[in-house]
Subunit: 147 residues, 2 copies
């Protein structure tokens, strides 16, 4: 298995005197693990597409520009394992396999959409912040040059 069970629960928060952050401390980083998965490079795209309708492997592949068959395969298997995607094999030749969102997967998509909306709404503000930051750094670089 390529990643499967991640070895390190390494990035749990230390409680120390920061008493809460309940979700991360208590669940043995289960939450982080799941978060990492759904936030990975391709999962979101797959879920977004499947939320529109059931798709076949090749349809997904063509719809997601830049994904390799390997990564699509890996991504789909993970999503299937997590119970977010349902895989249906039709016993015909040539083989036909359909992928659909489970009810759980649908609720995830709804939640994710909120995050996407935030990103959409904030992107200009972020772009401005980046430009400003870069401008200042360039400015400082010039000053360093001068001495």
């Amino acid at each position: 298995m390529e990643e499967g069970t991640s070895k390190s629960p390494g990035y749990c928060l230390d409680t120390e005197d920061y008493d809460v952050l309940q979700w991360d401390v208590r669940e043995g980083c289960e939450v982080r693990q799941i978060l990492d998965r759904i936030a990975d490079k391709w999962s979101l795209l797959v879920i977004a597409l499947l939320d529109r309708r059931t798709l076949r492997f090749t349809e997904l592949r063509r719809a997601i520009d830049g994904i390799s068959q390997r990564m699509l395969s890996v991504t789909l298997r993970q999503l299937e394992r997590d119970g977010l995607v349902l895989r249906t094999v039709h016993p015909v030749v040539p083989p036909r396999v359909d992928y659909a969102l489970t009810p759980l997967g649908s609720t995830l998509h709804a939640t994710i959409q909120a995050l996407v909306d935030w990103t959409e709404g904030s992107q200009h503000e972020i772009a401005a912040a980046r430009a400003e930051y870069d401008r200042r750094r360039a400015e400082e670089a010039v000053l360093d040059e001068a001495n």
Copy 2:
């Protein structure tokens, strides 16, 4: 700069006959880029901690079990560049630097919290799905063994 401006807007969705997925097609993958950043290994933890109160570099380092000073530094710089975190240097010896969430950062935290809540609420269902999946795979492996 280590990662800075990512080279490939590679993973945009192909419109083809899947007409919408507005957010990803239209913005030149700006959304994906931002999403990747906030969903990375450490950003969420930093944001969650700073949402509770302003913290110094070393406080963050100690609070986040397993993070290297390098990754904390990189993460903070990115968040600062994106306008999500405010960095304040106090001109004293020994140096003191405070990190705080900007208003934009706070709104992000609120949004993220919804996702965390979903994960918390779904984690048992996911764990069950995984167990079931693994059980079936093991079953099939035994059958393969038999022939």
